[in-house]
Structure formats: structure tokens, C-alpha cells
Symmetry: C2
DNA sequence: CCTGATGGTAAACAGATGTTTCAAATGTAA
DNA sequence: TTACATTTGAAACATCTGTTTACCATCAGG
């Protein structure tokens, strides 16, 4: 314990390398050499590269789900059975997402990791995240359901994922997009600023009018 | 030329494997064995794996940009200097995107590839796509600019990318999302149906009210 | 027939990958 | 100190990676 712990030094290095280059493109040798740790340390402490990847996510997701559950608890007691407005729900989620990584590394890394979790092959990761942290998301969507009673269930499901795409895509590709925005519009924007800009867009998207008429899915009932 | 050409057999196999597992996770041996082609054929016909990846994209993007340019030409003559409404622009783009892959493989593969192009490391890919096909996108955004005159340039830029995130995220992760939607809401949805549902959402998002007040970027002018 | 490409093939190459092994170091408790 | 468990270390392991080499088949034009 003379310096920082070997385990956390591996995690710290792994998360930024994963975020920069993806999982398959980041070798254990790259991680361990940059972290100034022996190569075998990863397999000793985590068992495998897969488990390392999951551990990197757990370090973000575990505190996030805890805080988000707490925030939702507080919201539910504050509104005491009344319907919590959509704006409040979204605002709460945004605040929690912004809070958690602030303690450790940057939000950018967290979002980039989330984006990778969806886009990279890594089927084990999606399964792990779903099984381990799916409950908060279910609770949140249930509250959103009460906040948007006239939206058909399927429609709300899709729109929530539309917006999830907006957030993850934008925040995970942040650096590239920010470069373009800065060059073309001299618009240097922070993450918080971006989230602020997203709010009215997301609210408008969720409360958009329904599409013309449902035709194709008629026989699915 | 006894059977299908070696080159197209490689491309056909590569594009679905890339879409399924990503670029780094797909080996040339996997591609060539499934395509029943010799391993060396890839390097013989394409030169390298990098060039193979670019060739896979070119096969989609080249016809797409051609058609999209043509569609925009037709729109501009039809509206003869008048401003083309936002809905028409979006509808045109959606139609072109739906048309092109219909000729060859499924739209899903194309979208998944696009999503990978953004999220995977592969810096060479982003550069290639930008240099080769950036012109159509610039032309499109200029038309969108005229269609939304009261939107600040930077705001429009970000909202367009918000919506790009919606489309790519949803359509590239389509299979997983569709499984959930079908299980939870018995809502079996086609790609065209999904695009139809996206339209009002995208329009509402683009014409959402501006965020409260711009503070952080004030000194950037 | 010969010549010279062109496309295909098997084998080898050089290097990187995740993982394992086992001995040395370190810390901890008796 | 002794005895034991935990942690580090260097090296090897087996496998997989993209790429190259050299050889064979086919077929056109002289």
C-alpha cells in the first residue's frame, strides 16, 4: 500500500484506455505497462479481461444506481403519490448522471464507456449490465409512464430509447463533435452546457404528436 | 466467374460479420472461411484489412450519395428558390436511406455499420467517410439552415447530431430493442414503421424552444 | 507452342494476444 | 523468529492476428 493500490491503478488506467480505443483494441499489456503494474496482475486480481471490463463498469454503475434510487425515493416522498412531472424526472436523472462521475473521473469517460457497451460486440457486457442494474431503469420507466399517461406504452418505450440514443451518441462522441462545432461555429461547449441544451429537445420529443395512424401493426394485436 | 465473384463474396460476408461483431473482433480468417475464399484473397484484392473495411462502406455510401444528390437536385428545382420545408427535407433523407440498402442487403446492416463507424476506434474510417462523402451532408445542412432560420447555427448543429444519434442508435441496436419491445408490449415493429414513428419526434425536437438563456458561451462571440 | 499476365492457393512468417506457471518478495499472525 | 498466506515478478505458453511468399492454374494474344 506504499503508493496507490494495484487494483485501482489498473482500473484507472483501463477505463481511460477502454474509452479511448474500445475493448478489443486495448491490450492487457498496454494497460499494465501504462499503469506500471505487472502483466499478470490483471489475471490475478480480476481473473480475466472480461471481468476487468465488468469491474470498470461496476465502479461507475454501482454508485450511480444507489444515488438514483435514493433520488427517486426522495422524489416519491416529496410528491406523495402525486404524479411526478416529466421535466422533474428527466432533470433528476440528468443531475444524478452528472454527479456520480464528478467524484472520480470525467463524465466523458463514463458516457463513452456506455456507448461502447451498446455498440461493441461484448455480449457479456450487455447481459451483465442488464442483470445487475436493470432494476433502476424499470423503476424510472414506470414513473415516466405515470407522467405521460396519454402516450401508448409501445410509443413511450421507443421514444425513451430515441432519447437514450441522443444522449449516448452525443456524449460518447463528444470530442469529435466538439471539434467540428468549435471549428465551424466557434462554439466551445461544456458537458453541462450540452445537457442544458438537450433538455428542451428531449421534452419536446417525448411530447411530440403521435404519428399519423397506426397501420402496419394492426394485425399484431 | 463460374459462381459469384470472389470480390463480392468477400464483401457480402465481411459486411454482415462486421455488423455483427465489429471490425477488430472480426478476423480475416473468419471472413474468408465463411465466404469459402482463400485467406490471401483479401490482401490480394483489397490490399489490407483497412481497405476492406472502407470498401464495405463505399458499396453503401457511393450509391447513397448519388441518389441523395439527385433527390436534392429534384427538390431544389421543384421549389425553385423557395425554402424547402423541414419535414420535406427529413422525409427525403429518410426515403433515400430506406431505398438504397433495399436493393442489396438489409437496412439494419447499413445502420449498424454506420454506428460502428462512429463508435469504434478506427480513426481512418471516420476520416475516409468525411473526406469521401462529406459534401452531401454539408449540402443537406445548408438546406436545413434555410428551413429553420430562427435557430442559431450552433444550436441547429447540435440538434441535428442529437437526431443523428437517435436514428443511428435505434436502428443499429434494432434487434435487441425489438426483442424487448415485442416481449413487453407485443409490439412487433418493422424498420419502416420505426422511421414513421421517428418523424414527428424528430420534427418536434428540431423545433423545440431554445434553452433558458445562453450563459456559458457568451464570451465566445 | 510459347509468353505473360491474372486470379487463386497453401504454407510460412513475424508479431501480438490472453493466460498460466512458478519462484521470489512481502506482509501478517503466532 | 517461525510459519503461513497474499501479492508481485519474469518468463514461458499456446493461440490467434494480418501479411507475405512462392507456386500453380487458366487463358489471352503473338
Amino acid at each position: 500500500m506504499g503508493q496507490t493500490d494495484t487494483v485501482t491503478r489498473i482500473l484507472d488506467t483501463a477505463e481511460v484506455l477502454f474509452a479511448e480505443r474500445g475493448f478489443a483494441e486495448t491490450s492487457l499489456r498496454h494497460i499494465t505497462s501504462k499503469a506500471k503494474v505487472n502483466l499478470a496482475a490483471v489475471n490475478y486480481h480480476f481473473g480475466s479481461k472480461k471481468s476487468l471490463i465488468q469491474a470498470v463498469f461496476a465502479r461507475y454503475l454501482t454508485p450511480f444506481t444507489e444515488r438514483f434510487h435514493a433520488a427517486l425515493d426522495e422524489l416519491e416522498t416529496r410528491y406523495a403519490g402525486e404524479v411526478i412531472p416529466l421535466e422533474v424526472l428527466l432533470e433528476t436523472m440528468a443531475r444524478t448522471v452528472l454527479e456520480v462521475p464528478a467524484e472520480r473521473n470525467s463524465l466523458k469517460v463514463f458516457m463513452r464507456l456506455l456507448g461502447l457497451a451498446y455498440s461493441q460486440a461484448q455480449g457479456h457486457l450487455r447481459r451483465y449490465i442488464q442483470e445487475e442494474y436493470g432494476s433502476v431503469f424499470s423503476r424510472f420507466t414506470e414513473l415516466v409512464r405515470r407522467a405521460t399517461p396519454d402516450l401508448p406504452d409501445a410509443e413511450r418505450f421507443w421514444r425513451l430509447h430515441f432519447m437514450l440514443g441522443t444522449v449516448i451518441f452525443t456524449l460518447s462522441g463528444l470530442d469529435a463533435l466538439r471539434d467540428i462545432a468549435e471549428k465551424d461555429y466557434s462554439d466551445r461547449v461544456s458537458v453541462r452546457e450540452l445537457v442544458r441544451r438537450m433538455r428542451p429537445v428531449v421534452v419536446a420529443a417525448m411530447s411530440a404528436p403521435l404519428p399519423d395512424t397506426v397501420v402496419a401493426t394492426a394485425e399484431a394485436s
